[in-house]
């Protein structure tokens, strides 16, 4: 286990170094290490080329890499948690409507409010949380307390917010607003900045740590409600705790970058392949792999073509075939209930 983490750690640092080098403005690895050692905004009398490089490096590339790692880790951890809560390896963190709500909130801000980054981000965050709360209230009105009712409520609420989003897109000015909304719904980290990191870090880091800390109980949450109760776990209360923490994290990540498709579903599967299904090992592995995966995907998104590719296109393009590969090779037991 220790050896595995040592290998994964080295892979991560190597990947981070490469991601910092690659870009529209390539920086030599030597230079990257020098810049990292000098620190940001160091009072260097350097002029011209070096100063530009430093600015690009510290104000654009570093925050972008940090943000992708944070968002990827947060969304993937939430994905692993949701798969446990809904006892279904195909559950994704947006199953309760957080993404649909956030998309609606962002579009609303772009059209009717001030289309400034902080306003869009706040509106997306608030509506993401609102959507999940509504799904929870709707499920609470039913006498059936099973997670499947919650999933159906999530589908209902998602559909309503999707319709709202489509309506706003219909109203939008096709020359600038519509493009902005569409780009948002496909996600991108090109707006990454230290200010955005300041906004999402206080949600994502404590969120991931809380889920790592309370990861063992997730094993019990995958059992039937009656079995979990028999083992002394007040299921309803713990389900709310896990849903609240995961939703806050996904809402924060999505609000900052727009929709990031697939990674919440696929990364936990890759993690299970490496660490097994036991959650004290699975949750840290999901966080780690999610950060790594999204960092690499974002580097692809910003460097393959001359212009930026939306992140969801890249994650779907690489993620979906990978899940297909796992379906074929990982064996039956990982996807089916019984043997």
């Amino acid at each position: 286990m220790k050896k595995k983490w040592a290998i994964l750690g080295s892979v991560f640092f190597l990947a981070a170094l490469i991601c910092l080098c690659i870009g529209r403005y390539p920086i030599h690895p030597d230079q990257v290490i020098r810049l990292l050692l000098t620190g940001p905004g160091a009072d260097n009398p350097a002029t011209g080329n070096i100063a530009d490089q430093m600015k690009i490096f510290w104000n654009i590339r570093v925050p972008r890499v940090i943000m992708t790692v944070l968002a990827g880790a947060g969304i993937s951890t939430a994905g692993a948690v949701f798969q446990a809560l809904f006892r279904n390896p195909l559950a994704a963190p947006d199953i309760l409507g957080v993404t649909a709500g956030a998309g609606f909130g962002a579009a609303l801000a772009i059209i009717f409010l001030v289309p400034a980054a902080i306003v869009i981000q706040t509106s997306a965050f608030v509506f993401g949380i609102t959507a999940v709360t509504l799904a929870y209230i709707l499920a609470g009105l039913s006498r059936d307390r099973s997670p499947s009712v919650l999933v159906i409520s999530g589908i209902v609420i998602s559909a309503i917010f999707q319709a709202g989003l489509s309506f706003i897109m219909y109203l939008a000015n096709p020359y600038d607003q519509l493009a902005q909304i569409i780009f948002w719904t496909m996600g991108s980290f090109h707006t990454a900045s230290w200010a955005k990191i300041q906004a999402i870090l206080p949600v994502l880091v404590p969120g991931i740590l809380a889920l790592v800390l309370f990861s063992w109980r997730l094993n019990i949450m995958t059992q039937t409600e009656e079995d979990a109760l028999s083992m002394g776990i007040p299921v309803m209360r713990w389900r709310i705790f896990y849903v609240v923490v995961s939703t806050l994290m996904v809402a924060a990540a999505v609000a900052a970058a727009g929709t990031v498709a697939w990674i919440g579903l696929i990364v936990p599967h890759i993690a299970r392949y490496l660490s097994g299904p036991e959650h004290t090992r699975l949750i840290p592995m999901s966080a780690f792999l999610g950060g790594l995966f999204l960092m690499v995907m974002d580097t692809v998104a910003r460097s393959v073509l001359l212009s930026e590719i939306p992140i969801s296109i890249v994650t779907s393009f690489f993620g979906a075939p990978f899940l297909g590969y796992l379906v074929i090779h990982a064996g039956k037991a990982r996807f089916s209930h019984d043997t």
Partner: protein
């Protein structure tokens, strides 16, 4: 009495499934709950475990009112072996057993080395310690039942409830698990409550029996006194009789075997005769 139930009425929605149930169970003894399908056996177990709220009556566990106990306190007193178990994820058998440590383990902690050893000991007690690292979903139905039993043992409770533990097991495994329960009840001084369908198993392994008919107690008492022809006929239907085989084994067998299609073609009257041939085990 570790378990004392008085005038219990419960059900789903507004309609009671069981009403006016009175029963007790004592430490070191196995109590069988018998009755036909839909008679309310599982409902009664769910009430004792406080998963289903009571409509009327009272349940006292170790002298305490069960309705006043918090979830994790109940889990420290009662463990449950469910009828059939599967896991949506391929946990190892040891991970499945460890889950029952939850009432003792703090919410933010994982099982300690000591807990892992004690879980392994519970698996050894049910004879499955060689399966610790096997995925739960890949072992056979009988072995899964033993894993669930080890899990209930690891919960270390004075009371254990088993919901038809023999339902999916083959003949040998049925007797194996019942014999194991008998030993455990005596050795650990546990109060064991089991729902069963087979009167033979109740007779061989259980000390007390409670028979439920249409949601009410039809008879209750020690197995030797209670399991009689009249009682069984009243509760399980009129096609049952008790007998002793030529080798001296007590058995409950059908009174008549209904005529079958191929026999009827013979139009032989032999088939209409009561089925009196003795069956040996």
């Amino acid at each position: 009495m570790t378990l004392d139930i008085r005038h219990l009425t419960a059900g789903y929605g507004k309609k009671p499934v069981i009403s006016d149930i009175n029963m007790t169970a004592a430490a070191g003894r196995i109590c069988a709950i018998m009755g036909r399908n839909g008679s309310g056996k599982t409902t009664l177990l769910r009430c004792i475990n406080r998963v289903l709220p009571l409509m009327a009556g009272s349940i006292r566990i170790m002298g305490e009112d069960a309705t006043q106990l918090a979830r994790h306190h109940i889990a420290q007193k009662i463990s449950v072996v469910p009828q059939a178990a599967f896991s949506p994820f391929a946990f190892s058998c040891l991970d499945m057993v460890l889950m029952a440590g939850a009432p003792r383990i703090r919410a933010w902690a994982a099982p300690s080395k000591k807990e892992i050893c004690s879980a392994a000991a519970a698996m050894a007690e049910t004879g499955i310690d060689h399966m610790k690292n096997q995925p739960f979903n890949a072992v056979s139905g009988g072995e899964r039942q033993l894993v669930m039993l080890a899990r209930a043992l690891f919960q270390q409770t004075p009371i254990m409830l088993l919901d038809e533990p023999t339902a999916h097991l083959d003949f040998t495994n049925q007797h194996r698990i019942m014999a194991l329960m008998h030993t455990l009840a005596r050795k650990r001084k546990m109060t064991v409550v089991i729902t069963l369908h087979d009167p033979n198993l109740s007779h061989y392994y259980c000390d007390d029996v409670v028979l439920i008919h249409q949601g009410r107690i039809a008879a209750a008492g020690t197995t030797a006194d209670t399991l009689t022809d009249t009682v069984l006929t009243r509760v399980l239907g009129d096609n049952i009789q008790l007998d002793v085989t030529t080798k001296g084994v007590f058995v409950a067998v059908p009174r008549t075997i209904p005529p079958k299609m191929d026999d009827m073609a013979d139009q032989s009257l032999e088939n209409q005769k009561p089925y009196n041939k003795k069956v040996s085990l």
